[in-house]
């Protein structure tokens, strides 16, 4: 009998021992009894004996079919569990596609790519009717040596069935088609791109981290594709992570077009569960050459992994915000190190962490300072709002600039990072505002849907007919969201085609595809968009970007706010003038002399990033310190604060000198979905000190009783404070 250590998807930070009559089941999925339920788990290790008394030890119900998860995958799960201080079972569940997590039957393996004739088949073929389909299939296979799927499909509608019969008779034998991995239609590289590609190609076969820092439109994707070609040519698999589901279809098209023979697997949460399981297993079996996906794809097993690419590495969507709060970018770097392969982090606006590592020599910096197609970067100007007369939030200079684009048949984008019609509905008579009952936030007016909606908890109500407090019917929207801006622009330019792109108008990947196609086809003159439009897109006729309400983020309290705003504006500005037409960016601001806007005007990322890094160094913030947050949420703020206060006492009793713990404080958005939230920050100058402390501290906290309704979690390397 063997004892299996099983990772189960339960919030308990340990593995569970079960007995089984097998030799080795490491990496297998198992069905086990757990309390009165049955759960699916993953066998992390095996041992001959257990510390659990024999009478308490339960037996595995059954070992699920399918090949074992590879050792490197189990190691990755183990590492994430330790690093993010999260139960291994929950990590394993997160890292598996939902179908496999639930222990469903494995989807059928991908059909074979080709068939070869067997000697028996060649011998028997002449016995077939001279004109029969079977005869023609056998003859074709004999002459060409193989019969591939397209040939079969082209022959007749009945050919697939005929092949099946021939396989059953043992006259044909299925084989895996040998993919043709050669790239087609590769674009010529400029010098800096070529230099970057050869540096990455030279590192294939060993661990190295590259920061590909290229200005917007500098052709980073082309560098990735060339590097992937080099990895495939060595017989390797490439893993490419992208921030948004919305961005994958375009990139997928480009990758598929470049490598028409390669087996490309896409993985993102917008896909069907069966497709996700199939992609995962295909990659695991080594039958995928390129895996392209969002953050969850970082956990795909890849036996021949040769290269990892993380596009837009600064992007916040690489961070998971619930369950195990991990950074897919950081996990990607870890994976590359674990596997001894190079990883390329690409961005026009690298995160300060990566920028710092590149400056200190830990990452190798590859710079692309020229745009690939356009002659130059767009001109960036500030429109001083002081004393300006705005029309519906638009300064005259911006309106004129849009007018000029319309006259030339070019596209404009007006960027406003706030969806809905107006951020709040208010009563001018008594001062009532549309607060959410469950959150410390306002309900946003969505006029098109005739709803008030909370963007934090998702609750929605019909728009009240009158002020709930005083009865005044003339309640009014205050402030401006993309819907209101869309209306205003349409009223200003009645003949123009105004297209709004935000999470409401592009709620699904399909709708986003339709919008995107319309923009590309030139069926829109003025785009109104949120950050959805800021990332990665390439619209050749877009020559003007107007930025509204950027000042709102200028003085935000989060220490990363400046970094994020700078990156966001540089990214959105980078959408203009990417092709032959020159681009312009106009930023409406009341603080045109602010260093952030000055740096944007000069396209000087390095200098401003340097300034921000110096501020971080002086303040002792990341990347010069390592942080973790303990967060608690409870029906009452006092409960959350009391729990954290206890945790602080426990920390004091542990006496770790190298770690600083701060007071528990309510979170900025204190109440969400009826729960009140507080946090406690822990900081250390060195990472190992932080983790040693967390190990000891969290173990003590896990042993504590918590009041009903209180939940807590820890976030390592938090993205926001």
């Amino acid at each position: 009998m063997t004892i299996l250590q099983v990772a189960l998807d339960v919030p308990v930070a340990r593995l569970f021992d079960y007995a089984a009559d097998v030799g080795d089941a490491v990496g297998k999925r198992v069905l086990v009894p757990f309390g009165r339920r049955e759960l699916v788990g993953v066998v992390m290790s095996c041992s001959p004996a257990s510390e659990v008394p024999a009478e308490q030890l339960r037996a595995v119900t059954r070992i699920l079919p399918g090949s074992a998860l590879p050792g490197e995958w189990l190691q990755l799960v183990g590492f994430c569990s330790r690093y993010y201080h999260h139960p291994a079972g929950e990590v394993a569940a997160l890292a598996l596609p939902p179908g496999l997590r639930r222990g469903e039957a494995l989807p059928r393996p991908a059909p074979p790519g080709a068939w070869i004739p067997t000697p028996a088949g060649i011998e028997a073929a002449p016995s077939l009717g001279a004109r029969s389909l079977e005869r023609r299939l056998m003859e074709g296979a004999r002459q060409a040596g193989t019969l591939d799927r397209p040939t079969v499909a082209a022959m007749s509608a009945r050919a697939r069935a005929a092949v099946r019969v021939l396989v059953e008779r043992g006259w044909l034998e299925p084989v895996e088609a040998v993919p043709d991995l050669a790239p087609v239609g590769a674009l010529p590289l400029h010098d800096a791109q070529a230099g970057a590609v050869s540096a990455i190609a030279a590192a294939l076969g060993r661990f190295d981290t590259f920061l590909l820092h290229g200005v917007t439109g500098s052709g980073k994707t082309e560098v990735y594709l060339h590097a992937i070609a080099a990895a495939l040519a060595r017989g390797g698999q490439a893993l490419m992570l992208v921030p948004e589901i919305a961005l994958t279809p375009q990139l997928e098209g480009r990758v598929a077009g470049r490598f028409p023979g390669a087996r490309l697997v896409s993985l993102h949460s917008g896909m069907g569960e069966a497709a996700r399981s199939r992609g995962f297993l295909q990659a695991k079996a080594g039958q995928a050459d390129i895996v392209l996906g969002t953050r969850l794809a970082v956990f795909t097993p890849l036996p021949r992994l040769a290269l990892v690419v993380v596009d837009e590495e600064h992007d916040a969507s690489f961070r998971q915000q619930d369950g195990m709060r991990y950074s897919a970018r950081d996990v990607a770097v870890l994976r590359a190190r674990q596997r001894g392969v190079p990883v390329v982090l690409g961005s026009a606006t690298p995160s300060l962490e990566s920028f710092h590592h590149a400056r200190s020599g830990r990452y190798r910096l590859l710079k692309l300072e020229q745009r690939a197609v356009a002659a130059s970067l767009p001109t960036v100007r500030c429109i001083d709002l002081r004393g300006a007369r705005l029309h519906e939030g638009l300064a005259p200079a911006l309106v004129e600039a849009i007018e000029a684009r319309l006259a030339r048949g070019e596209q404009s984008l007006v960027f406003l990072n706030r969806r809905g019609y107006a951020p709040v509905l208010a009563c001018p008579a008594c001062g009532w505002v549309s607060g959410c009952d469950h959150c410390s936030a306002n309900m946003v007016l969505h006029l098109a849907d005739r709803l008030l909606r909370c963007h934090h908890c998702g609750v929605q109500h019909p728009i009240p007919r009158a002020c709930p407090t005083c009865g005044n019917q003339d309640i009014q929207p205050f402030g401006r969201g993309t819907q209101r801006l869309e209306d205003a622009l349409q009223a200003l330019f009645p003949a123009a085609r105004v297209l709004r792109v935000d999470r409401d108008s592009a709620a699904t990947a399909q709708r986003w595809q339709v919008l995107c196609a319309r923009i590309h086809a030139g069926e829109a003159d003025i785009l109104v968009g949120t950050q959805m439009l800021a990332k990665g897109h390439d619209f050749p006729r877009l020559t003007l970007v107007g930025v509204l309400n950027a000042d709102a983020s200028l003085f935000a309290s989060d220490f990363r706010a400046g970094e994020r705003l700078f990156a966001q504006l540089m990214q959105v500005g980078g959408r203009s003038g990417r092709a032959e037409l020159p681009g312009e960016v106009l930023i409406q601001t009341s603080y045109p002399e602010h260093p952030l806007y000055q740096a944007l005007r000069q396209h000087d990322f390095d200098r401003y990033a340097g300034v921000l890094l110096e501020e971080r160094r002086n303040a002792g913030f990341p990347p010069f310190a390592f942080q973790a947050l303990l967060r608690a949420e409870a029906p009452q703020m006092a409960q959350a604060l009391a729990f954290l206060g206890e945790a602080l006492k426990v920390a004091g009793a542990l006496g770790h000198d190298a770690v600083t713990t701060y007071e528990a404080v309510p979170m900025r958005l204190a109440r969400v979905a009826g729960l009140e939230r507080a946090r406690l920050l822990v900081e250390a100058r060195r990472r190992p000190a932080l983790h040693a402390f967390l190990d000891a501290w969290l173990e003590r906290i896990r042993g504590q009783r918590v009041p009903r309704g209180l939940r807590w979690h820890v976030e390592v390397d938090p993205g926001e404070l």
């Binding site: 019609y421 509905l425 001018p428 008579a429 008594c430 001062g431 007016l445 006029l447 005739r450 728009i463 009240p464 007919r465 009158a466 019917q473 003339d474 309640i475 009014q476 929207p477």
Partner: protein, 91 residues
């Protein structure tokens, strides 16, 4: 007269100014009076007024309220409207 607008719930609102001119008695003596006040009408009354020509003569009833929580200026909220024959009106 302003442009007819709608509240987010779809109720029509019309803002306008009302001109009044009359002869009144004050401390026993007659005098001429003129006044212009801001007015607002909601719902059917807003539609009714929006259809009227600028300068039409009306007799209105309603109530006074402050313009907003931040202003003490009175605004007449019109609940009843009676359009008067042009002939009866002194211009």
């Amino acid at each position: 007269m302003g442009v007819l607008r709608h509240t987010p719930a779809g109720i029509p609102v019309l803002q306008f100014r009302l001109n009044h001119r009359s002869r009144q008695t004050e401390a026993g003596l007659p005098r001429d009076v003129t006044v212009e006040v801001a007015g607002v009408a909601l719902g059917p009354q807003a539609r009714l007024l929006a259809g009227a020509a600028l300068g039409s003569s009306v007799r209105v009833g309603g109530f006074l309220a402050e313009r907003s929580a931040r202003s003490t200026q009175p605004v007449i909220h019109v609940n009843e409207i009676e359009f008067l024959e042009q002939d009866n009106v002194q211009r």
